[in-house]
Symmetry: C2
Subunit: 347 residues, 2 copies
């Protein structure tokens, strides 16, 4: 493999991702304008999605979807791949819009969350009814619209890709539901929590997007290679998330930290600590958690270093899975670099 | 046309609708069991949908979808039509699950609504967090899952049908959003309210299901015939709904009545009254509505009789649209009977 081959892979990837951005922008602007023409209020759901998508985000899912497609030898000019990658970002936006309602999160990507912003507008204008219900209704409907726009963009998916697509959607919702249920019932079950974290975050961020890209390229047989890479890297991705929240710095992270413990969330990090330390087990078994004691104990048992080591070995395992899987060498290289960026990111 | 041809049409229709019920049942049971095997809590979203679907409902949308297909000469054994009709009922269930959250409706189909039931369970078991947020989260996720299962059942839709399908989904959400916005902002705009009612209810109940059925039969060119029939009958359907709520009897209706006025809802009925009577215009222009005065005035101007007349002429117009549209005579007859059942129903 020459340097120019690797550069070529990167250029194709970047070009396709630029087309994904255009597609996102065109879809959301078009939909906002279409309904705003009926009534100015009609543009609000699309505008709420656009505000969230425009506020940043890592575009992780489109990046892996496009990478899976190109690594499988897919045509970079196939419009289906750009549409599908854009659809993944819309599904992600929809999940965040709904999740922020379930968690009552006030901010998202450094700005007020959609439901908080619309509730505040309701209050400020003295509208009829309850501000909270209004804000949450607008956010839920915006999330619903995001899913519908994603459905529109995936209309031309070939059947094997559509199967992966539907599985991804189902996993997100079941994962979200179990998340809500486990938090409400104060379930301390590290195995279940690990299953939820992997189902809800890991799979839909990396494995399923890669498999979708490959299926669009007509190479659904790459599914197992991407499953092995994606499962390991998905867990590393989630562990990094947990580490940032547990020990990170809000400014570097670009979001509030320490929320998981405050919300009694059995993260992968905490599940690991719970399995290995009797004192942590005792602390998380209490109906109300003693946060300072729990934080101190997590530092004492050096859980951070243990998680770092686990991230290291998961990333190695992910990279190892790429070799011998029938991918071209430039793409093995590129997916290796992507693995390191995901596992060792700061936010 | 002989009696046996008409009977044949009815028998095929009834058989297909029986297959739709099987499909609904199989999909929901399968999904519940699949996730309950991971954890008993995982079955809850599918169970919430099944409870709603099993509690009754008119199955209006599947009936029109199947009728559109058969009237267009579609194959009654085509699995795509049974799946699509079942998917429409799931979309309807999803919309009701979300709508009940937006409206804070305590009951649905004579039973506690999903969010109310889950909030009550949360309270009874003394779970962590806020009962309302928990109940609403479960209901929103169940609605999301209903949409995803519908997506799965429509995976094999031909492209023209998929276009109708996505349009139907979009119209529901935009209609719901405008409904929420208009109520919050106390907008008195009969034209806008009429647009919302037709977009949210009329089109997705009759016109779009018929067009979907025809598109699955490969006869998308019947779209305009079904648009003419569906638009007129959709408005008649909605006007009947308004009449039942405004002047009906809760027992006969099988649901609470009088809610539209209480919630300051600008229904089609009220939009008509507002356009034609200065005193009604004055009353609905107030920030708080004087309900006894408004009810009295609506009776005084005999709005009920006017709406009945309008339902009559809309139904005639719908039926007239069927003739000369290239449908077979037995199906013109059957769609005529369906129009009368919809326009003159008691609940």
């Amino acid at each position: 493999m020459t340097v120019s081959e690797l550069d070529g892979a990167r250029v194709r990837h970047a070009r396709l991702l630029a087309r994904v951005e255009e597609r996102l922008d065109r879809t959301l602007t078009g939909e906002r304008d279409r309904w705003a023409a009926v009534d100015p209020r009609g543009g609000a759901p699309a505008a709420a999605i656009a505000a969230l998508v425009g506020a940043g985000g890592k575009r992780l899912r489109p990046a892996f979807c496009v990478a899976g497609h190109l690594a499988a030898g897919g045509d970079p000019d196939d419009p289906v791949i750009a549409d599908c990658a854009a659809a993944l970002e819309l599904i992600h936006a929809g999940a965040l819009l709904h999740d922020d309602v379930f968690d009552d999160a006030e901010t998202r990507r450094g700005r007020p969350s959609a439901h908080a912003r619309h509730a505040a507008e309701h209050t400020a204008r003295g509208w009829r009814g309850e501000s909270r219900r209004y804000g949450e209704s607008v956010a839920v409907l915006a999330g619903d619209l995001a899913d519908i726009l994603a459905d529109r963009l995936t209309a031309a998916l070939p059947v094997p890709a559509r199967r992966v697509w539907n599985e991804l959607l189902t996993e997100i919702v079941i994962g979200q539901h179990l998340d809500v249920a486990v938090a409400a019932e104060s379930v301390v079950d590290p195995d279940l929590s690990q299953w939820i974290a992997i189902c809800k975050s890991g799979r839909y961020s990396i494995q399923r997007p890669l498999q979708l890209g490959a299926a669009i390229a007509g190479r659904a047989e790459l599914g197992p290679v991407f499953a092995a890479y994606g499962e390991a890297l998905g867990e590393a991705f989630q562990l990094r998330d947990d580490l940032i929240d547990a020990f990170g710095d809000a400014e570097a992270a670009g979001k509030p930290v320490g929320l998981d413990l405050e919300q009694h969330k059995m993260t992968l990090l905490l599940a690991l600590a719970t399995r290995r330390d009797a004192r942590v087990r005792e602390l998380v078994g209490e109906p109300e958690w003693d946060l300072p004691a729990l934080r101190a104990r997590l530092r004492e048992i050096a859980i951070g270093a243990e998680i770092e080591a686990r991230i290291g070995s998961l990333t190695e395992r992910a990279v190892a899975a790429l070799h011998g899987g029938g991918l071209d060498p430039a793409w093995c290289e590129e997916l290796t670099a992507m693995a390191h960026r995901v596992a060792y990111r700061e936010r």
